[in-house]
Symmetry: C3
Subunit: 141 residues, 3 copies
């Protein structure tokens, strides 16, 4: 049994956006269609935004993550030649590649098997607002 | 055909733990149930431990990996505000996000299609011992 | 419905190799076998090569990526003890682990659901030419 849905998110620029609820809604709505055991695949169709599983209790974790990435791959780094769209262009690609464009989460007893402290976040790496498409594919029996 | 099993591992603190054998056992036991071609998904339900596919011959590789991460994101870095659980708290989240919480490996002819030098490792990023849950989902035909 | 195919690539040493077309060919050939909605899993069977989804328009992006990695984990770093196969040995393992050995892409209406600017690349991290095996597994209904 398969189901696929695209979530559209308009980011307000660089930062993390909790999409756990959006994904859980798809699983719950599917319950009637009876996926008991399976997998939920999440995919972002962009190269300057990514997906992370991150601690969901203290929002400071995601701010520290930003600080870490800003030091690891600073905007305006003279190392880069690909700067057409601005100083955050190439760092955004690197941040995406160092994290991930896709992840899969087990479905057990019709529920997403996330750990207690795991949330699913879209990470927008560009400074300005962008429209982002996320494809959620669930399958199972 | 689907099968799901949770492996529990008690880490002895920071370091890598070979779980290849545990996963292969699930595949082999499943053989009777006849998954010939498919995928094996492995998922860690935590935000301060992760999964890696790593060279399995020379254990020095995993020690060098530790040294690399210790320099990239040192414990006690004054950059971080999320320090409630100690100086290794935020670095553990970053290490997890830079590696991965989930991975999938092909199943071919009823066998895990790992390369000769690929082992599956749980990477504990906290200094102290922790109980870690790993959900293994196999599917195929 | 499942299909699995191994792609063999002989790299010309360190650099990125576009494999999007090779993967799309498998999906298209499969169309006759009617996977409408599903997933395409790509897996590299090595620990010193990896897979990335990267911007596919400006090749400078991938050159900047190389420059970034060369600074993050330089060849010949005296930090490393695992140097048996040369100064690029351990950096190659680290680059692989910081990126990924596997990724999954949604299949929608019999097509790979990549974003407009997303290409799939094999990233060879060793300096010399290597034979690399990539297992592509597609499934769906």
């Amino acid at each position: 049994m398969w189901q696929q849905k695209t979530i559209s998110i308009t980011s307000k620029g660089r930062g993390t956006y909790d999409i756990t609820g959006e994904i859980e809604k798809i699983i719950v709505n599917n319950k009637k269609r009876k996926i008991h055991t399976g997998l939920c695949h999440v995919f972002v169709r962009h190269t300057s935004a990514s997906l992370i599983l991150c601690e969901n209790a203290d929002s400071q974790v995601r701010m520290d993550l930003e600080h870490f990435m800003a030091k690891l791959t600073p905007d305006g780094n003279p190392l880069f030649s690909h700067t057409m769209e601005g100083p955050d262009d190439m760092p955004a690609h690197i941040r995406s590649i160092l994290t991930s464009n896709d992840l899969s989460i087990p479905i057990t007893a019709g529920q997403l098997m996330l750990g207690t402290w795991q949330g699913v976040y879209l990470w927008e790496h560009r400074l300005r607002s962008h429209h982002r498409q996320i494809v959620v594919t669930i399958q199972g029996q």
